[in-house]
């Protein structure tokens, strides 16, 4: 299920529309993940405040979307492009890769809420494929 040229174009075109709100998307997606999938909170036990709009959530939401932006720039070779991030997640953070799917779902939900007209089924499938490919690249170094 690798990205073809049409997928990459769709992802880049949609990103151009939404990247201005990247921080908000990240922060909202993260909040939703922590609320809808409470088991994900286990990775953030060191945060004083996990509520929506709190400093750590806002800051981390921005960081996550920074990673997504980087992935879009490196969309033609995600494994190579996300090598450092993969090593970080594999050896330091050790996030179970099942959670990448969970966060991806919430990113899509937020995109649907913020951009209901632009998040068409065609954009949805391209973004879903892209986030899947990103997740696979992120899990590359795990074992």
């Amino acid at each position: 299920m690798s990205l073809n040229a049409k997928d990459k174009d769709a992802v880049k075109a949609f990103w151009a529309k939404v990247s201005g709100k990247a921080g908000d998307i990240g922060s909202d997606a993260l909040s939703r993940m922590l609320t809808v999938y409470p088991q994900t909170k286990t990775y953030f036990a060191h945060w004083k405040d996990m509520s929506a709009g709190s400093d750590p959530v806002v800051k981390h939401g921005k960081a996550v979307m920074g990673g997504v932006a980087e992935a879009i720039n490196k969309i033609d070779d995600l494994n190579a492009g996300l090598l450092n991030l993969s090593e970080l997640h594999a050896f330091t953070l050790r996030v179970d890769p099942a959670n990448f799917k969970i966060l991806s779902h919430n990113i899509l939900v937020v995109m649907a809420i913020l951009f209901p007209k632009d998040f068409t089924p065609e954009v949805h499938v391209a973004m879903d494929k892209f986030l899947g490919a990103l997740s696979r690249a992120l899990a590359e170094k795990y074992r």
Binding site: T35, H105, L108, A112, F119, P121, H124
Partner: protein, 147 residues
């Protein structure tokens, strides 16, 4: 036995009382067929599903989307016994339709996204949690009679 909070009950009742079945049902099913194209395997007799435009314009898909969404009504009315409520439909999907139960989750993800887009900011994290919990229990009930 699934325990529902008052918030969860009222949220589910509220969402479905405002549901535009003829819009949301078709939108969710078409999205599922487009985003997860392997799900088209169950609709061989629906005619033209060759591309997104064809799927979105297909009247059989639209009709079936509405039917599926109305299938959730009985669950909304019987939240305290979803297992029994969907036992018959579970047997149907297993024995007659031969649908891989993993597909139920794919459709419910698409339904969540369509409902989120319609409700906008009102679809808060807490509302999303309640909605996804309801769908998860329905999905589980639909898969229960498979053997």
């Amino acid at each position: 036995m699934v325990v529902w909070t008052d918030f969860e009950r009222s949220t589910i009742q509220d969402i479905f009382s405002k549901m535009d079945y003829e819009v949301v049902g078709p939108a969710a099913l078409t999205r599922c067929l487009i985003v997860y194209p392997w799900t088209q395997r169950y609709f061989g007799n629906f005619g033209n599903l060759y591309n997104a435009a064809a799927i979105m314009g297909n009247p059989m898909v639209a009709k079936h989307g509405t039917t599926i969404l109305h299938g959730l009504d009985r669950g909304v009315k019987n939240m305290d016994d979803l297992k029994t409520t969907y036992a018959e439909l579970s047997v149907l999907h297993s024995e007659k339709l031969h649908v891989d139960p993993d597909n139920f989750k794919l459709l419910s993800d698409c339904l969540t996204i369509v409902v989120a887009a319609r409700f906008g900011e009102a679809f808060t994290a807490e509302v999303q949690a309640a909605f996804q919990k309801f769908l998860a229990v329905v999905v589980s009930s639909l898969g229960r009679q498979y053997h």
